[in-house]
Amino acid sequence: MALLSLDHARLRFGGIVALDDVSLEVADGSIVGLIGPNGAGKTTAFNAITRLYRLDSGDVVFDGRSLRRTRPSRVIRLGIARTFQNLELFPNLTVLENVLVGAHISTRLQREREQKRQALETLADVGIAEHAGRPASGLPYGTLKRVELARALASRPRMLLLDEPAGGLNHEEVDALVGLIRRLRDERKLTILLVEHHMRLVMQVCEHVHVLDFGRTIASGAPADVQRDPAVIQAYLGGEIAAA
């Protein structure tokens, strides 16, 4: 049963077709990778799902419900939380406060102390509790990625959209991230869709991979199959080499 699906999604910016009839399904409880060369439309797909962009046609369906009329600020209330490719933190807030903002939708009637306790737990869960009191600006990139992750988790989402979670991380950090993503999915019963260039992470963590190129789906299937797909190889290596 698909928790999230894009249904014939089309979106163009001026003359550029960013999403060209893209359909994809993310099964409940699965980890799905969305990959493709730069400019393939991956982040655009994320922005369409979270309603920052409005589709020209087609639909986003979450848990059997169309998001066509959902405001961007309501998306998280339905249970979809996200991270951003180039970090969208609140730099003047502390790490803890960033996570508290992530819990905004669930804290209306909660005591401040209880909110803080839960936020600290979330930080501990992603392994950065020791940075709680620091301002979010000026921490190492890998730590900031985790802050964003913790902020997304703080809303207790059902679905997590991770935009290049391994971006800027070294080998060891990527390996740790693989374990973390799996553990979060299992412990928090999450469904995860992730955009990633780091193929090792995709191959290790994803159960299904969806490949975009120039806004079109060119392959979709198990990681190992997709990796061997000639269309995918061509998209990544370029036409000339594949033709040679």
Binding site: P72, R77, F84, L89, F90, H104
Partner: protein
Amino acid sequence: MRHRLPELGSLLAVAVLLSVLPFTLSDYNISLVAQVGIFFVAVLGLNILTGYTGQISIGHGAFMAIGGYTTAVMSRDHDTNLVVTMLMAFAICFVVGLLVGLPALRLSGVYLALATFALAVSVPQLPLKWSKFLGGSGGVQSHRTVTHLWLYGAAWIASAILFALAWLILRGRIGRAFRAARDSEIAAVASGIELPIYKTLAFGISAAYAGVAGALFVMGTNGFAQPSEFGVFLSLQLLVGAAVAGLGSLWGILAGAAFVGLLPTVSGSVPVIGSAHGRNVVFGAAVILVMLLLPEGFAGLLTRLRRLARA
């Protein structure tokens, strides 16, 4: 609670100082410190908007005008208790602030600053348009006037109440939503923060504070509300006060208020360049100097000092 001790301590010290001061100062100096209290309220209000939500306003003098005229007109026509007129100024300016905040949602940065600037220019012209009701360029004279000591007490009690209110609003969920909207709108929306609600709310609260300051301001000019008192310079003074205080913090407001409340008066008596005409030169020079030395205002200085003390 222990990490709050320095804050509570300094608050207590300021409160004690302010309650002792009237017994030692001359009547004229009491009126000067009362003036600081009036600016305290206004700068605090502007800081909630500009410092916490990042919406720049060069138009808060307009809200002060509305608050001031509320007091003067209610006193003139109905002999309303002046404290009650302050509450009315708060309520009316809150609503006007919300109304101004709605179109402001579409603007940000320099464009918002310019739009609020238009407000600062145009609102003081309204009394000329409706001169029967608002007294024209001659102004409105309140029915009652107050002593300097009364004004001092009213200004600082209002400051204390509104400071506590601001602290309560800003310390938790709402304050974080304000600051989140300032730091990254896109992430704030993704976190479920309804930007229109929080941004207009900040406008309303901020304008309400300016309204109270305006009411006190009119009481401080012998109960006389006049268009020329609420010109663009007043709006700029408030913005300078907020910047000197340190945007996005409550702990430098006193310094910012003292800066804009006292300096225009004090700078007239600075040797060589200070005079009736030279005082704006001194004021300008002081602003430049403070901004160069304390780019994050007095609140930034306090943070730095605390870090030094801890290290």
